[in-house]
């Protein structure tokens, strides 16, 4: 309750309190460059982090030639890509083909701007938050960005004018839209808990106490898991990487891309990975909050993001890919009902424990009904198929 009251009187970045002066301009410019740099360095690091970690999990060394212990490999790869010839296939829709990588890249960059990396700092009399923007619609920027980046993937596949990317694009649009519902519902759960859309308020509400203030515990765990699975599917990371599906579609939507176009897709994919891990930390793991030493918030933030990123790498190294219909089953039949039920339970529990209990029992009842409905539907389909087989 206290958090909700605090959030109601919450305003954006305190740096704007005295009006927009030259100092404010400079501060915002510095933060802008810093966020861009963080994403770029994060992507370069992440590519290597993943390759190294997957290699060690798979009994290999991984890249170890370029730079100290191979850590400059991704930089070298990026530079190489930018000097390659940019081909546009014969059957491609030229403008859409060129625009698609940018459409995939920009929203991811934009969404990083609302992530609070730390608390406020005071520089030359100006007190400002360690985040580029703190708009009142805060966390919705993330949903917006993930919705728009679907277009990048979809248009790329469609505009390439070849079959594999087309199948990839069809898969992409269906997959990303399906998982957006579960994603939105879990974000709504957090917003209910916090009472504000400000990302800084979401983080502030999780401060204090030791760990149990974090939303992952306050929302009873399940929404965090659903959010994690949903953003994995949203980013088309393994095991949900049907869009690229190296072994089936041989690269999928970005198959026809070369040079900068391909580099931008690669960049967008890993930037999305870093950004969404940061969102996971912000929404559920308390952002820059740590058990001790609250002044080093950014460090705690980085540690948590690295831990979340490792989980992604681990999953990639271990799990096989799901099939398209299994993916849809998971999204529509499991994640969306579960996230809806958790939203109700958390919201009701926020009022009083009696309401929470009522919502829980209601959800359980609905769960039984739903599984019965799915069961009946499946048997009917099977019986139909059987009848079709037996009919002369």
């Amino acid at each position: 309750m206290l958090a909700a009251v605090a959030a109601a009187s919450y305003n954006g970045d305190p740096v704007f309190a005295k009006g927009i002066t030259l100092g404010v301009w400079i501060i915002e410019l510095v933060k802008l460059v810093a966020v861009f740099a963080i994403i770029m360095v994060g992507v370069l690091f992440m590519v290597m982090y993943e390759r190294k970690a997957v290699a060690y999990l798979g009994n290999r060394w991984g890249p170890n030639r370029a730079g100290p212990k191979g850590w400059l490999q991704s930089l070298a790869d990026g530079l190489k890509l930018f000097f390659k010839e940019a081909l546009v296939p014969e059957g491609a829709d030229r403008w859409v083909y060129r625009a698609a990588p940018v459409i995939a890249m920009v929203p991811v960059m934009v969404s990083f701007s609302v992530i609070p990396i730390g608390d406020t700092v005071t520089v030359a009399g100006y007190t400002t938050r360690l985040q580029l923007a703190d708009p009142p619609w805060g966390i919705l920027v993330m949903l917006m960005a993930s919705s728009i980046s679907v277009y990048g993937v979809m248009l790329a596949g469609w505009a390439s004018g070849s079959k594999y990317p087309l199948i990839g694009a069809v898969r992409a649009s269906a997959q990303m839209i399906s998982y957006e519902a579960a994603l939105g519902l879990t974000v709504a759960t957090v917003v209910v808990l916090t009472g504000s859309l400000h990302t800084s308020a979401i983080v502030a509400a999780q401060h204090g106490g030791v760990l149990y203030h974090w939303n992952v515990f306050r929302a009873y765990g399940l929404p965090a898991a659903i959010f994690f699975v949903a953003i994995t599917a949203e980013m088309t990371r393994p095991p949900f990487d049907l869009v690229e599906a190296e072994e089936e579609l041989a690269g999928g939507y970005n198959m026809e891309y070369s040079s900068i176009g391909f580099a931008l897709f690669y960049l967008a994919e890993y930037a999305a990975l870093v950004t969404n891990s940061a969102f996971f930390v912000t929404l559920f793991l308390g952002g820059p909050d740590g058990p001790y030493w609250h002044t080093i918030g950014p460090l705690w933030f980085v540690i948590k993001v690295l831990a979340v990123l490792y989980v992604y790498v681990w999953i990639r190294a271990t799990l096989p890919r799901l099939r398209y219909d299994q993916l849809m089953d998971l999204g529509w039949k499991k994640l969306i009902p579960a996230s809806l039920a958790m939203l109700l339970i958390v919201a009701a529990g926020h009022i009083s424990w009696r309401w929470g209990l009522a919502a829980l029992s209601g959800s359980l009842f609905a769960f039984i009904l739903l599984s019965r409905a799915i069961e009946v539907g499946r048997t009917q389909v099977e019986e139909g198929a059987q009848a079709e087989l037996e009919s002369p």
């Binding site: 798979g58 079959k163 072994e247």
Partner: protein, 445 residues
């Protein structure tokens, strides 16, 4: 005149168009052919195409070309797939991209040179090619095989089966998206390959099993190596049970995918794990024992569902069975000659050449003219990791075979792809190709 002749020859030798057309452009006969499974008919019965039911919808379908260069077609297999959305309506494997004419080459090589040629066909199980060839030559020539040679051959073949199945586990994992399984499988196969290198001098294409025995005796300390390999393989198999078998995502990807029934499998001539997955208990090692397989104790692993999951389980368990056989062989290995001492087939030992003129002449004649084999023919099948691998040899009495034909399991098994993949999704086609485990060197020869 010549133009007519060319046209005639073209028509006579044509293998038909390899392209698959979209549903609304395809001939009715072709569609019925795809839907009816002509190859399932018993011998002597011809198919009335009017009987076969087929579906010809009006909406558009897409022809997708998987391969010949595709990450998961195991080499240069090309599969044309007709899809509606994600659903696969028809598939058509197109082969021949790795055709090297090895069977024809075999006619130009002398009998003792032949095994160096056939070993390159199925490059993942080279010992089996050599074995099938050598057994056939021995049968035509009427050679007798020393007992120890038979045991050595069994040892190497069963180790090779483990290596081949481990590589299959690796590629199957990779095809389904478990990328690190690829590395694990190759890693474990490496253990076996270094043992092969120790014994034969080469990691692959060994030319070790030759008509009349094997090229060299086992090196000192081979028993310790073999025991160590068995231990490592069994320990790793438990790890893979953790990683793959108990993995619900993987199980969902394979369970019920690519089903085959026993009649189809037998009708198409499928053998090996593919046939056994449908419940047919056919294993050449047990049904037509060659070498000394009747003296060792092993189980023939059989499935029930005929789907990819059964094939996975069969291969995983066959590795364990092979370990069992290898341990028995290591225990029962007798002392004695490793190749026949018949002077007609085996050159004299090196130190005899220094002492005896006759030995030198004999050696020279054997390696320039080769040994003559009486006219006749023979076909000896062996159970390779992929199924029944047989070699048919016709001899015309000279030192070169008149005809060498290899009954390649991959070639026959590949026919199972079309009935397996029908009605599935694109990822299922990949899983099916993977579960057939074709080696394109074996398919095209």
């Amino acid at each position: 005149m010549t133009a007519d002749l060319v046209e005639l020859l073209k028509a006579k030798t044509s293998e038909g168009a390899q392209e698959m057309l979209a549903r609304n452009e395809e001939t009715v006969r072709q569609l019925r052919h795809e839907a009816g499974g002509v190859l399932r008919l018993p011998e002597g019965v011809t198919l009335d195409y009017g009987d076969v039911d087929y579906e010809r919808p009006d909406d558009e379908t897409m022809i997708l070309n998987l391969g010949p260069s595709h990450p998961s077609t195991h080499g240069v297999l090309r599969v044309m797939v007709e899809i509606r959305g994600e659903q696969v309506l028809r598939t058509k494997p197109v082969i021949g991209y790795l055709h090297t004419g090895m069977e024809k080459t075999g006619e130009e090589l002398m009998y003792h040179q032949g095994s160096t040629n056939v070993t390159r066909m199925d490059y993942l199980s080279p010992f089996f090619n050599e074995l099938a060839y050598s057994l056939s030559v021995e049968k035509v020539a009427g050679m007798d095989l020393p007992e120890r040679a038979g045991w050595i051959r069994m040892l190497m073949c069963e180790l090779n089966r483990i290596a081949s199945h481990l590589l299959w586990l690796a590629t199957n994992g990779a095809d389904l998206g478990a990328i690190n399984m690829l590395v694990y499988g190759w890693r474990d196969r490496e253990v076996l390959l270094s043992f092969f290198e120790k014994v034969t001098g080469l990691r692959m294409n060994h030319n070790y099993i030759r008509p009349g025995g094997v090229a060299a005796d086992l090196p000192d300390g081979w028993r310790d190596d073999v025991n160590a390999i068995c231990d490592v393989v069994l320990r790793r198999m438990d790890e893979y049970d953790n990683l793959l078998t108990g993995q619900p995502v993987l199980q969902n990807r394979m369970d019920g995918v690519g089903p085959l029934d026993a009649a189809t499998a037998v009708g198409l001539g499928l053998t090996g794990p593919l046939l056994r997955s449908t419940g047919v208990t056919y294993d050449v090692r047990r049904d037509f024992p060659y070498l000394l397989y009747d003296q060792v104790d092993f189980d023939v692993i059989v499935g029930t569902g005929g789907d990819c999951w059964d094939r996975f389980a069969i291969r995983v368990n066959e590795i364990r069975e092979s370990v069992r056989i290898v341990r028995q062989v290591a225990k029962m290995m007798p002392k004695g000659d490793y190749r026949t001492q018949d002077k007609k087939f085996t050159p004299p030992p090196r130190n005899r050449i220094d002492e005896s003129m006759e030995a030198l002449i004999h050696h020279f004649k054997l390696f320039t003219e080769g040994f003559r084999v009486p006219p006749g023919d023979a076909y000896v099948p062996v159970e390779s990791p992929r199924g029944e691998l047989g070699c048919y040899i016709v001899s015309d009495g000279t030192s070169r075979p008149y005809r060498v034909h290899v009954r390649a399991p991959s070639f026959a098994n590949l026919q199972g792809l079309a009935p397996m993949a029908r009605g599935g999704f694109i990822p299922d086609v990949i899983a099916c190709i993977s579960s057939i485990d074709p080696v394109l060197g074996d398919v095209d020869r």
